[in-house]
């Protein structure tokens, strides 16, 4: 069955879609009230984030747009040291979208919301003319406990820079799917909560954390270096990469430093906590390839020591990072 304009009209078809797809998977006491707004009791400092997901294809090796939608916003909250609690989801369905596909996406969202310990408390659905596309917006709230102050402006000279795992996996999987290339590259889309919980339990005082998404590690390091007014120096040989992703980048002329991930983070910890933080990360499922990739120094910008000992400036991503001609 396909989505039609009737599903968006607010009438019988809409109601059926709500019950059979959304209501079935997202049920919880707050959402089930079906009021105009969710009423929540929260206190303290709140982290609040939103993100919109427009990926194609909708399903890919390692996940689907729904998994991205939940993990993306939950991870943004986690990166501020917050405990994620509530999400909203807005859906824009294009006419022609396969309802079974939609249901798979929604079921995945319910699954990951449960894993993340968040409730989906409000939502919206619209149907527009089109060719079977799907766009999802999620917004999320999390509570930041007393004493936690994580910010991109906190880095200090001497801090260690850690990366939780291999670069480029998500971007590689999406591009491979779009180009019809068969390979073993899977999206690394995942919740970062295992790692952030473990770091908190281990007593690591994280200065800054960021998930390595659009723009890639190169762009994100520049943003943080700018806010902290420090220089970051990283080692090319320390950056973990799967061999297959590295080969894929080589063939297409892509730079791993600018490729998106969806389940990796970069974090900054005081020097004395570096080895302990690394051990904690490596003990988790998603952090087993974690590495210390560099140090924070006085100065500005981001430099990388290359494999042969040369030095190069790493700037933000310009343009779209498209493969080259020659």
């Amino acid at each position: 069955m396909k989505i039609t304009m009737a599903h968006g009209s607010g009438g019988k078809s809409s109601e059926e879609l709500m019950e059979q797809v959304f209501g079935r998977h997202f049920a919880n006491p707050i959402l089930d009230k079906m009021e105009d707004a969710a009423v929540l009791e929260v206190s303290g400092r709140i982290a609040f984030s939103t993100d919109t997901f427009v990926v194609t294809p909708l399903e890919f090796k390692g996940g689907n747009i729904g998994k991205l939608a939940i993990c993306g916003t939950v991870n943004d909250l986690l990166m501020m040291g917050a405990r994620p609690k509530y999400l909203t989801c807005g859906f824009v369905l294009e006419e022609g979208l396969d309802v079974e596909l939609l249901e798979r996406v929604v079921a995945t969202m319910a699954d990951y919301a449960q894993q993340a310990g968040v409730l989906i408390v409000a939502g919206d659905t619209k149907v527009v003319e089109g060719q079977g596309g799907l766009f999802i917006n999620t917004a999320g709230i999390g509570i930041i406990e007393e004493g936690i102050h994580i910010s991109a402006a906190n880095c200090q000279p001497g801090d260690a820079i850690l990366l939780s795992g291999t670069l480029g996996d998500h971007h590689g999987a999406i591009l491979s799917a779009r180009m019809g290339m068969e390979n073993g590259i899977n999206s690394d889309c995942a919740l970062l909560s295992d790692m952030t919980d473990a770091l908190r339990e281990g007593g690591i005082s994280v200065r800054a954390m960021r998930d390595v998404t659009r723009g890639g590690l190169g762009t994100i390091l520049n943003e943080i270096a700018g806010k902290s007014r420090c220089q970051f120096e990283i080692e090319e040989t320390a950056i973990p990469m799967k061999e297959e992703v590295a080969a894929f980048c080589d063939i297409l002329g892509l730079e791993p430093l600018y490729m998106a991930n969806e389940g990796k983070m970069v974090l900054f910890v005081p020097e004395e906590d570096a080895e302990k933080a690394l051990a904690i990360l490596k003990d988790t499922e998603n952090g087993r390839d974690a590495a210390i990739i560099g140090r924070v120094r006085e100065g500005g910008g981001v430099r990388m020591i290359t494999r042969l000992g040369g030095s190069r400036l790493i700037d933000v991503l310009y343009g779209e990072g498209l493969p080259r001609i020659c």
Binding site: R307, L308, G309, P323
Partner: protein, 348 residues
């Protein structure tokens, strides 16, 4: 010699200043990615050459592509790094924003599937490149003919490297040696540079793309120059991929489908015999590639032309980093991922 000794030799070089041209855009990118400039003596200056097909493409070519993209029932297929190059008044990226049908291709062969699926649409390929890429377009025509696909056109900006190198040797006296383009050399062979090297008495050496390959060639060129040996043959340090005689199959394809003609190189002007155009018998696939020689006047401060031939470094152009940046490029050298200015800016 091992790589550390090569690096030490190049770092400690203290003779007269040497200017070595790396012709190929992929070498430019590789040199910056590996930080080679930071590893060698300041007296060895690496100059970027005209081996960036995007950089040397004139505005009239972009205009022709935009025209096709705006036409009903036409789709323009292009490699990604062409979409931001400025034409006379717009770029493909801007035109796309205004409704032009522009699609990025990762391989020209994608055109065949699209053309078969949509017989009412004419797919026009922006066929830009050097000898490395040209044979692929020949094979594309061959397959289109085999499969009876007629709704494909090529607008070509295909060029050959040797005439440009000859131009540089004849007109730019300050280049002491050349790093031959790696992929082009696979096609044309290392012997192809012999006549030029011998006539102008400049060393040419072929390098691969790993930093070790490039450092080895730098050592080789500097050493040849220091030893003041007469230049007799080309040193091929990329024997894994490059043979003296090149790739005869590729040459066969080139001869079958293309013939030489004059081509406009931004910064160098029109060089006779440096362009490759579809032969008349394949006119059905021709999208109007000849005569695209006019180039928009760049403002007086833009010195792309001098950067392309290595007369100045990018940061000596007054617009570098001020009026001309990767997000607001003025000249093609800043637009292209392989362009000297773009790479200098992103790696400064």
């Amino acid at each position: 010699m091992n790589i550390q000794e090569v690096i030490r030799y190049l770092k400690e070089y203290n003779g007269p200043e040497l200017r070595l041209m790396e012709v190929c855009g992929t070498h430019t990118a590789s040199i910056f990615k590996s930080g080679i400039r930071s590893m060698i003596s300041e007296k060895i200056r690496l100059i970027s050459g005209p081996g960036c097909p995007v950089c040397v493409t004139p505005t009239s070519y972009i205009d022709r592509c935009i025209d096709y993209a705006m036409k009903d029932n036409h789709v323009l297929l292009t490699f990604g790094d062409m979409i931001k190059v400025p034409g006379t008044s717009s770029s493909l990226a801007e035109a796309k924003g205004e409704g032009a049908r522009v699609e990025i291709m990762y391989s020209p062969f994608e055109a065949l599937e699209k053309a078969e699926k949509n017989p009412g649409v004419t797919y026009v390929l922006a066929a830009v490149g050097f000898e490395t890429t040209a044979p692929i377009y020949g094979l594309l025509i061959r397959e289109a003919l085999d499969r009876g696909i007629a709704n494909i056109r090529l607008v070509t900006a295909l060029k050959t490297v040797l005439p440009a190198l000859e131009w540089i040797c004849a007109n730019e006296k300050g280049i002491d040696g050349f790093i031959c383009p790696g992929h082009v050399s696979v096609i044309i062979g290392s012997d192809a540079y012999g006549e030029l090297a011998h006539r102008y008495q400049r060393p040419f050496a072929v390098a691969g793309f790993e930093p070790e390959h490039i450092l080895a060639v730098l050592y080789d060129l500097v050493h040849q120059i220091q030893m003041k040996k007469p230049v007799e043959d080309i040193h091929n340090l990329y024997t894994n991929a490059v043979r003296a005689e090149g790739n005869p199959k590729a040459a066969e394809v080139l001869h079958q489908y293309f013939e030489e003609g004059p081509a406009m190189w931004r910064g160098l002007g029109v060089i006779p015999g440096s362009g490759l155009y579809l032969k008349d018998e394949f006119a059905a696939f021709e999208g109007g590639s000849r005569g695209l020689e006019t180039d928009r006047e760049l403002p007086p401060e833009c010195r792309c032309g001098e950067v392309i031939v290595g007369r100045i470094d990018p940061d000596q152009c007054p617009m570098f980093g001020t009026g001309c940046t990767p997000t607001n490029p003025y000249g093609p050298c800043m637009v292209s991922a392989e362009g000297a200015c773009g790479i200098w800016y992103r790696n400064r």
